[in-house]
Symmetry: C2
DNA sequence: CCCAATTTGTTCGTATGTATC
DNA sequence: AGATACATACGAACAAATTGG
């Protein structure tokens, strides 16, 4: 099939062959009604389907793989299969973007204050008994002072998993993604930047208290209470975070 | 530098050489303190830096390019340069993910009802006179009935650009991204799915009215009014959208 | 305007690794 | 264990694009 002729009328940024092939493969997939998990033609077939060499096909497949649209396996019955973009990849790619926007932790908490209460009341009706037990299990991980740094990290992650479970159950996939994503950002913040500071016992206790109260309110299906508790929880967390950052800059000054 | 030995203790998913190189290049970038816009070594240098063949280097670079972390140019002084992930790419990649979650338009509008009022009041203080004039210009594009389908699309996009400008000015990069992103999703919805229906004159008039009122309130720096107007605006838009979808399914039934 | 240098982009041929039967 | 089918990787060559003289 011949290529589109380059017009030279506008300074069009010349699209690379490999990228054209990647787009062509996407079109091929929708035209041939390929379903999730179905296999694409192997490299050789793609080579003569689009009349290009191995390297080019491989770069095109690489592009789709990086976007999470296909997975590739070696061996017989291997090759590229259509895939759903996995959440961790989507989160990573978006963090790549936001890295250059350098959001502050207050930016994060402002959004959590807005969204977490909504997530909680939406998840309330969808929570199964199993979910509630899982929330309790997660919360129990945090009901005592950590013995070492490893347990401290486990507890912090458990606190976030509490919110992740609610986000997954909230019934709105976009809101669910954003909730989960914000928790990923918090995790980066907490794990990689705030671990040098001593444990914040008051903070952990406050979180524990709110999570326990939230479970009770969720069981009672008390919408307004759930919403209010979650808002307070986020406000409290934001406040602790601000104090923590003040300590951090203080410590930085001392180090200098 | 030698590779990590494969332990075979756990079923580790065998990391491909090209992906290893991509990660190695990322490390190289941070270690050598490469700044935005700075150039990376060219393909030849990367080949012997990481002791691998050209194709492998190219796949690694392709991976970084698809993620938006580098741009690549040909010719003298060409090569790969460190780049900030451009917004359109981040939006596209996230839409790839959400495509498989198949969110409803109500999911979209629920979030807009929550976020757009917050965006508006946050942007209020940051809006320059130039911004306000731009808002007025955008709004004027919609102050008359469209003459053809092309203008209809222009007007719809202008309506969204109104909100995009506010999102960019809201001062919270994460919130700004989400606001812009939701508008992209709405755009897909409106342009590619709802254009078959006749123009919704009432809808356009309502939007025009709200945008004009919002500009006035923004100029007056009336926070509560801005917030209230934006909420009503979103509720109204959601309502129109629901009616439109009812028409769509109705039409679908007729076609069958 | 063309020429030459530089660097990416693409191709081919071959070899190796890996999973399946 | 061996054969097969497939991706993965290497190496050498050539094509195309961009820059600067």
């Amino acid at each position: 099939m011949t290529q589109h002729l380059h017009t030279h009328l506008s300074a069009s940024p010349r699209i690379k062959r490999a990228d054209q092939i990647a787009e062509a493969i996407k079109r091929w997939v929708v035209i041939n009604n390929v379903q999730l998990g179905d296999k694409l033609p192997n490299e050789k077939k793609l080579m003569d389907l689009f009349d290009c060499a191995k390297g080019t096909v491989r770069e095109a497949l690489k592009s789709l793989e990086v976007q999470g649209l296909i997975t590739v396996k070696t061996g017989p019955n291997g090759g590229a299969s259509l895939a759903a973009v996995p959440y961790p990849l989507a989160s990573k790619l978006l963090r790549n973007y936001l890295h250059f926007q350098s959001p502050s932790s207050s930016d994060l908490y402002q959004l959590r204050k807005l969204l977490e209460p909504e997530i909680a009341i939406m998840a309330m009706d969808a929570l199964s008994d199993k979910d509630l037990h899982e929330l309790e299990r997660i919360t129990q991980l945090c009901d005592h002072a950590p013995q070492d740094n490893a347990e401290r990290i486990i507890q912090r992650i458990a606190e976030l998993d509490f919110h992740n479970l609610l986000a997954e159950r909230c019934g709105n996939p976009i809101l669910g993604f954003i909730g989960h994503f914000l928790n990923d950002m918090i995790k980066d913040l907490v794990i990689y930047k705030k671990m040098q500071l001593p444990e914040q016992h008051e903070f952990s206790c406050a979180n524990l208290h709110y999570h326990q109260a939230l479970i009770k309110a969720l069981r009672a299906k008390n919408k307004t209470l759930v919403q209010q508790l979650m808002l307070e929880h986020m406000q409290s967390a934001h406040q602790f975070n601000l104090e923590l950052e003040a300590q951090l800059t203080e410590q930085l000054l001392v180090d200098l």
